[in-house]
Symmetry: C2
Subunit: 681 residues, 2 copies
């Protein structure tokens, strides 16, 4: 980039354009696939952007971070700091939810180069009269482009450089940061910039949420009756008291009759069978209708409002598929594939046939009207007050559809949350998150050993995934009753709850099956529940003394009270001698929580933890206190080696807050914490 000042006095023919910029800008982080997809952040967070910025030779290089929210016309400019080795860093604080763009700009700064070189020559006692004239000309060249006060200040500075003065006065002039700032501002037009990158700013619930899933139809007070939204509303105080802030329902729409599945997924249903809520659509309506036995739209509004008063968002299931009885099948045959015999193509995974489900044909010639209608479903429920959607099997619908749908929805409602329920191959899981899903189900359910958990969390939090894939950990779902829970009894439920809730800032349980320890599979080797709620109405004894409700309540309270647990990525694993025990810490500023879990829940395990003290912000010299956040007990620790012993029948986990070193001595050995609802064994 030719600075006008570099033209000097030589007479040359004017040539244009100027030469390509000398500055190279590389490796801008964070970024997903070179800016093709947005990185995800939360409103109010600070973001650090780094880049390699450099040029040939010894000239001074200046790097600037450019940030703008979609709709803003001008870049916000953030000066970047040189970290060394050509790496630069710029930090900015995010405003409200929405889409942002950012880029890194750089330029060779001829004025700063001149300042730097001339100061050195001055200090070396060299004659700098020629240099001062060069500086004056640099100032005047920019003054010619500047206006008002800027121009006046630059002309005055140029005149001062030319005025006879002693070397000390010259040194002061060279160090005049006000003049340098004006020159810097006007230098921006010589910048070159990196490609633009994208950033999606979500609401805080996108990054920190506790989900509770239930089947409304199982919530009736009367035995045998079909539960209603009113029944669910009566559960809100209990769910809020447990500490959940998202209440998710399987589809609430009319259920098809054709090929309805019976109890335990039997191919032929009995007359009284209620069917699967995912077989959406019947004579009563489709995706915008409510199953009549659940209540009316007014009842739903009432429930949504009541939940909001408890700080709870109602999450709906977005299952884009139809029962054969769905009105779409008659009204929009062009949205389905038709077989040569004139029938509609049902779902299949040959040789298996799922004749109760008609998938949409995302490649139909009528795709535009189909996509618009599917968006219309979201629009409809957003209009009813819904802000959170759990999306059923997104990996079996066309990928570009999701990118379009979520971008359109978030443009209008940037606070919406979409949870991808894709239990599939890693690339697809990642792609859905890139395409816009706010949160994602994970492999957590199948990661149970220490090695599996450590590897998986490392992948989620130490690779590019951390920038766009927000995990939501579920120890169980209506589809997945893992062998760990089937065989591990109550201790396994406790351990898996603590792991899910402390490893991932977003987590959820399918209740009341979870808190009541429901663990019977449909048959040996199956991950399906026996008498699954997916196909029948169940009754749950919420008052059972074995309920994990108190522990769940404690864990959710601990999550809320500790910023370290309100984020996912800052997790650090610590060595434990006993391979059945896992230890990891999370940190947010001065808040540091250490979690220790016995993964082998049949008997007590003990072992020595070797803490990585630096990761905890400890110096290894001073003593420090740890508070067991479940029992409230407080202990004084010293150094990096500490003994733990975890009895799974009491509680197979510690959740310990590391306290700042305190002066007063408290000597007490670390011991098994006593859960507040239980006597020590």
């Amino acid at each position: 980039m030719t600075s006008p000042a570099r033209r000097g006095q030589t007479k040359v023919p004017i040539e244009s354009p100027p030469p390509p910029p000398r500055v190279a800008i590389e490796h801008v982080t964070p970024g997903v696939d070179g800016g093709r997809f947005p990185v995800k952040r939360i409103a109010g967070e600070t973001v650090e952007v780094q880049a390699d910025v450099f040029a040939d030779g010894h000239d001074v290089v200046v790097a600037t971070l450019l940030v703008a929210k979609d709709g803003e016309e001008a870049w916000n400019r953030v000066p970047m700091r040189h970290l060394g080795n050509d790496r630069w860093s710029g930090v900015f604080k995010l405003g409200s939810v929405g889409c942002y763009r950012y880029a890194v700009a750089g330029r060779v700064d001829h004025f700063e180069t001149w300042r730097h070189d001339t100061l050195i020559k001055l200090e070396a006692g060299q004659d700098i009269n020629v240099e001062l004239e060069m500086g004056a000309r640099l100032l005047e060249e920019v003054a010619a482009f500047a206006e008002g006060d800027d121009a006046a200040a630059l002309r005055a500075a140029a005149a001062a450089l030319r005025a006879p003065s002693d070397r000390q006065a010259v040194a002061r002039q060279l160090q005049d940061e006000a003049v340098a700032a004006i020159m810097g501002r006007h230098g921006a037009r010589f910048e070159t910039s990196s490609p633009k990158l994208r950033l999606m700013v979500d609401s805080s619930k996108a990054a920190f949420s506790a989900w509770y899933e239930l089947f409304p139809r199982s919530r009736a007070a009367e035995p045998g009756a079909h539960g209603t939204f009113r029944d669910v509303e009566r559960q809100l105080p209990r769910i809020a008291a447990m500490g959940f802030d998202v209440l998710y329902f399987p589809p609430i729409h009319p259920i098809g009759r054709s090929f309805r599945k019976g109890k335990n997924n039997q191919v032929v249903a009995q007359e009284e069978d209620v069917g699967s809520p995912w077989a959406i659509g019947g004579p009563e309506g489709g995706h915008k209708a409510i199953h009549p036995q659940l209540g009316t739209l007014a009842d739903f509004h009432h429930l949504v409002d009541a939940a909001k008063e408890h700080g709870i968002d109602i999450a709906l299931d977005l299952a884009y598929q139809c029962s054969p009885d769905h009105p779409y099948v008659r009204e929009h045959p062009e949205w389905f594939k038709r077989r040569p015999d004139g029938t509609v193509q049902y779902a299949e995974n040959p040789p298996k046939k799922y004749q109760d489900i008609y998938p949409f044909d995302f490649e139909t010639l009528a795709w535009r009207s189909l996509w618009d209608e599917l968006k219309g479903i979201v629009d409809y429920w957003v209009a009813q007050g819904v802000r959170v959607f759990r999306v059923d099997n997104p990996h079996t619908k066309a990928l570009p559809f999701w990118e379009w749908l979520i971008a359109e929805e978030k443009r209008e409602h940037p606070d919406l949350i979409f949870l991808a329920e894709a239990f599939t191959r890693p690339r697809m899981m990642a792609r859905l998150a890139k395409l816009g899903f706010t949160q994602s189900y994970t492999y957590f359910t199948w990661r149970n050993s220490r090695w599996e958990l450590t590897q998986y969390l490392t992948e989620l939090t130490r690779t590019e995934l951390r920038e766009y894939f927000r995990p939501n950990f579920w120890p169980n779902t209506p589809d997945i009753l893992h062998a760990t829970l089937q065989n591990g009894g109550r201790p396994a439920f406790m351990a898996r709850l603590v792991l899910a809730a402390t490893m991932s800032a977003n987590y959820g349980i399918y209740g009341p099956a979870f808190e009541l320890g429901e663990a019977t599979p449909r048959e040996p080797g199956s991950e399906e529940y026996l008498h699954s709620e997916k196909y029948e109405i169940k009754r749950w004894d919420l008052g059972s003394p074995a309920s994990l409700e108190p522990l769940i309540t404690a864990v959710n309270r601990i999550r809320r009270e500790n910023p370290a647990l309100r984020q996912t990525n800052d997790i650090h694993f610590h060595q434990v001698d006993n391979e059945n025990v896992i230890a990891y810490s999370k940190r947010s500023g001065s808040n540091v929580v250490l979690i220790v879990v016995n993964l082998e829940t049949r008997w007590t395990h003990s072992g020595w933890i070797t803490l990585d003290l630096a990761s905890l912000g400890l110096d290894g010299v001073e003593e420090y206190d740890v508070t067991d956040l479940v029992s409230g007990a407080r202990f004084r620790w010293r150094g990096d080696r500490n003994y733990v012993e975890l009895n799974p029948d009491v509680l197979p986990a510690h959740i310990l807050r590391i306290e700042h070193p305190r002066p007063e001595p408290v000597t007490q050995p670390i011991q098994q914490p006593v859960a507040p609802w239980q006597e020590p064994s």
Copy 2:
């Protein structure tokens, strides 16, 4: 992408365009900065391209690698193979030197999906009459677009599916790969593709070369005389016999008189001082002229031709800078920066001044004529038969200039080799290689300990650098006499030679200083030679009995004879108990070479190597032979642990070829190899 066949029989309004493609293509490797820069390869090599290619649902996905040389109008199509986990691989063999483009294309294959699903249904004994009609329609839809034999074959296949036949005949029809191939060919129009990536194919010498640098003016037969090209020509047999194939000269142009540097870089030269060849330009001419004392252009042509007969390329020094006496300074003042006092801006690094050197102003308004003239210099010497250029300090010239220059030159002469002499920060070193430099000087000279060498080679060969940065290792240069050589004596020269020549397929020495073990610094702590050839004519005693010529000859012969040493990236380090000994292997197909070097050259070191046998292609069960390629001795080894002992005064290195296991037993302990030119000590 809507396959016409998916439209079925449903009557719907025609909508366009079709929906966005369902296939995602990610993480295409190799690639440099998403295709912004080319990866580098050698003519005749095979290249493996990998990518993640996947789509929603269970449909069959097909991935194809597209390759084209610049100038070719159509893509060459290479079917890709699914490696698992959505990763695909395609391999193609490169043709001649030049620029290539490649991309990965993918599509959902509705015909293959139908074949796959229908076969499963057939095997499961299901009624597939409707499926056969679906297949017939898929065939007919494509037949409508196809022509000639293809169309006929598809229509015949459709008719066959509709004809009544037994299930075995249907199975045969479903497995008809000829029909599937036609469908596959015509499916290409539904593809989507990744961004295009670039590939630069160089001549084999770009990847495997041995450089010898000398100052022609020091080659006179008469003491005190100025050497000539004729004198150099007489050295060609010796240089060729040593095994070098690039002979590089410092600048051969007229040398400036103004501010000429004296011996040992003194600021004031004596009348008889010959000056630095890098102070280019005098009354006799500039970058296109030859220093009169070296000879005529005809002499140069004669030398170039004679060298070619010895398999040697003459490499010239491309130093884009001028002495104050260069004709450009008078004729093109617009190419230089001018100070306000009317003088030309000399080179400086404040407070240091280099008044004998005028840098070009790459940002001059007249940059186009400057850049054209600088390209003209390359054009000129290419016209004189030069194919190899060593570029002086490219990191102090505008980066975009290099990208333009090298691209332009290689478009016309794709076999040209440009070696970047940038000893600077890592990002800049990498950037220059990205911009097109064929080879690069490295930090090898300053990497001497085992840890340093292992780290550096790992960085060069295991990161993205391997795709575009071709190292050229030099144990010494006229500018760098490292402390290792100053203090290590002859053993250090031997060790550094073996390291340079076996770690990097491209290497070079500055001779005869190297083979004669010249090791005296200008002053303690300096990396400059005392009485550096840069500033004076030197005489060398090539017949010295201490000369390393025999070892150099042996090492270059071993390099030529072993494909493992003709490449850089396939290097593997092995554990050695003694931290003063380094062991690494290189492998190319069945050729495996193991190098062991004593890095502490004051005395004998011994130790146990633990070989990673898998990396050597050995199973650890069978015995295997190793041949010392310097001494010719052959030993039988077994297992992964072997003892080595290296006496630096004999030869501080083994270069061992691992032989395929042979049946006949040879029992002989491993022992210090005897260099062929030396008696055992």
